[in-house]
């Protein structure tokens, strides 16, 4: 029975399955590195999913869809930014509000789009490279967003590690009071980080509705945003580990779907639980090593910054 699962196809579909959570997670990583905990990833993702879908359907261009999704995600995250950075509200509660609002709002604007087919996103053409046995079909026949998502990871890694702005961002996340005392614009930087997180979550959502599924259904993210939040913890706030984490979760999802298709004698419902249970398991394993987990978390994560002078 296991023989019917082709490893090459498995890895190829794993990359596609991981891309939405990968995008959302890397965005959230930047937000959290700046010291802001945004629990609204799920909401921004699903609004990105419908905004990207609607945009792509109306213009006929998937590229416009992805752009629209990134804009919509960023716009939604700015509500969060305004509430938490200007009006100094509690980040956990505001993030939850963002998710609840996003789910309702997306269903509202998505009314006319159920059952519609989006324009297909073309695959990348690497010429003869795509015909290399094994590697070709496994890695080099995807749509551009798969490669874009990996590029974003590399860019975030380089930004945080090598640039001055990246250093300032990390400083703001570690100690906003010290960064403020040094004259850095804590609030401005955090708003930018939140908007970047929103744009990435929007892209991730659009990837779901335009490539992965591809269709619009209410509540289609089904917890992907929350899994992205878990992956940031799993990755101990390091960009490349986000990639590893997302691909691991993608792998579990794809394997689980393959087992369903192969007709394994486990009821479908129990297989569908697997990604969520694995998320919990991984969180436990990561958090169990308390010292390391505490070392890597940005020290000001989730704390309200109020400049008294």
């Amino acid at each position: 029975m296991m023989g019917s699962i082709d490893p090459i196809l498995l890895i190829a579909s794993l990359m596609v399955a991981s891309t939405p959570i990968l995008l959302a997670a890397i965005g959230e990583l930047v937000t959290e590195k700046a010291g802001v905990l945004n629990l609204g990833v799920e909401g921004m993702m699903i609004v990105g999913a419908i905004a990207g879908f609607a945009m792509a359907v109306e213009t006929g261009s998937p590229l416009m869809g992805f752009l629209g999704a990134a804009l919509a995600g960023a716009a939604l995250s700015l509500i969060f930014a305004f509430l938490t950075q200007v009006l100094l509200s509690n980040q956990v509660a505001t993030g939850l509000a963002l998710t609840l609002f996003g789910i309702g709002f997306s269903a509202l604007i998505g009314q006319g789009y159920t059952g519609v087919r989006p324009p297909p996103t073309p695959k990348m053409d690497f010429g003869p490279l795509s015909d290399i046995p094994v590697i070709g079909p496994m890695l080099l026949r995807h749509d551009p967003m798969v490669y874009v998502s990996i590029l974003i990871i590399a860019a975030v890694w380089a930004f945080l590690k090598f640039t001055r702005a990246g250093l300032v961002l990390r400083a703001v996340g570690e100690s906003h009071d010290a960064a403020h005392a040094l004259g850095y614009k804590v609030v401005r930087l955090r708003v930018l980080a939140i908007a970047f997180g929103g744009a990435c979550a929007g892209l991730g959502g659009a990837y779901l509705s335009l490539v992965r599924v591809p269709q619009w259904t209410e509540g289609m993210t089904a917890g992907a945003g929350w899994i992205a939040l878990a992956i940031v913890v799993f990755a101990s706030w390091r960009p490349w580990r986000v990639l590893a984490g997302a691909y691991l979760f993608g792998g579990v999802t794809v394997l689980q779907l393959n087992l369903q298709a192969a007709g394994v004698a486990i009821p479908v419902q129990y297989l569908s639980m697997a990604p969520y249970l694995i998320t919990i398991l991984v969180l436990v394993l990561i958090s169990a090593d308390r010292r390391r987990a505490a070392q890597n978390a940005p020290a000001s994560l989730g704390r309200v910054f109020h400049a008294s002078s």
Partner: protein, 360 residues
């Protein structure tokens, strides 16, 4: 230039006034949203907030108010204890489902008994199911330091799949002609949670919700545990010096909120819902988060907020019928309410001052 100045303690006046302001702002913003959808905004707001109570179908919709408010209040009271102590249980939806499942399974195991002990046993099992489900994030947090936010939320999806597995497997009605779903409790008098007073919508869930409001009020204002909960949230360091055990507090908050959510699920499945089905989950667990905040985490506030939120549910259904307003509009509306509430909170926590030019 406006400037925020932190108040030494939240203003009591503004704390009480912000929910009212938030509701008014939501009505205005919601009206604009409905206008953008091409509906008459005044008509839509009236349909949602006025007609369920005094409109032409009020005799049907008024009892629904208690039916919907019961589970919301019950769950929100539990959540508010945790939120006060900064313990974030956001998986009440899962605990609600597990409570329904445990309670219903107990009842169905003894089918077709007519013992009077059956319903109390189901109530206990329902609370136990929710408690058990909430203790998973509690134990993982205490033992490994895992975030209770993420674990409790992941468990919602797990519970949803268990629910679906149960309605296709273990709990499927043997006389259901192959359709998924359990036996209907309406045809099982010993386990049915019917209206206590005909025409009011009051069933045991509503009674339990009122009981929870009173109990939480007493706990928070008169009992040392309630004091500990408040201190742990407002001054964690002081709480530790005072000998408050964070572990105990986390377990109590998560366990209680789980048990209450479980109760809400049990009363729902044996009453208004009638059976275990794949689409039993109704979002009460998530809406209750809004109810808890809108009620300012105060038992009496939650009672009022629960009634108001129930009103938007019923009004939303009414607007769906009469105005063709999409059902999701109400969800967006409820989310907006929480936004406005959090935004207006700045008035309670800060003074807004007009800052003069800084002197050199």
């Amino acid at each position: 230039m406006l400037k925020l100045e932190r108040r030494p303690a939240p203003s009591r006046l503004w704390t009480a006034a912000t929910p009212v302001l938030a509701v008014i702002a939501t009505m205005i913003a919601g009206g604009l949203l409905f206008a953008a959808l091409g509906k008459d905004p005044v008509e839509a707001i009236r349909t949602i907030f006025w007609d369920p109570l005094f409109g032409e179908f009020a005799s049907y919709s008024r009892p629904q108010l208690l039916v919907k408010a019961g589970p919301l209040i019950l769950i929100a009271i539990g959540l508010s204890l945790g939120f006060k102590a900064q313990v974030w249980n956001i998986g009440a939806e899962g605990q609600y489902m597990m409570g329904a499942l445990f309670g219903a399974a107990t009842g169905l195991a003894f089918y077709p008994t007519d013992s009077v002990l059956l319903f109390p046993a189901m109530v206990v099992m329902g609370a136990f199911g929710g408690f058990l489900w909430a203790m998973i994030p509690a134990v993982l947090k205490l033992r490994f330091g895992t975030s209770e936010i993420l674990v409790s939320l992941m468990l919602v999806y797990v519970a949803q799949h268990i629910m679906s597995a149960a309605s296709f497997g273990m709990l499927k009605n043997p006389e259901g002609m192959g359709f998924p779903g359990s036996r209907n409790f309406q045809h099982y008098p010993a386990a049915f949670n019917g209206e206590l007073i005909a025409g009011t919508g009051m069933h045991w869930g509503g009674v339990a919700a009122l009981g929870a409001v009173v109990a939480a009020y007493v706990l928070l204002s008169r009992h040392i545990l309630g004091f500990h909960i408040r201190v742990a949230g407002e001054a964690p360091r002081a709480a530790r010096f005072a000998g408050v055990s964070p572990a105990l507090l986390t377990s109590v908050c998560l366990g209680t909120s789980g048990a209450l959510a479980g109760l809400a699920g049990l009363f729902e499945v044996t009453g208004p819902a009638g059976q275990i089905t794949t689409d039993f989950a109704s979002g009460y667990g998530f809406t209750a988060i809004i109810v808890a905040f809108l009620g300012r985490l105060h038992p009496v506030g939650i009672l009022l907020a629960g009634l108001l939120m129930a009103l938007t549910y019923i009004g939303g259904e009414l607007a769906q019928l009469t105005l063709n307003l999409p059902s999701a509009a109400v969800q967006a509306f409820q989310g907006m309410l929480l936004f406005f509430l959090l935004a207006f909170d700045v008035l309670a926590n800060f003074r807004i001052r007009l800052a003069g030019r800084a002197r050199a």
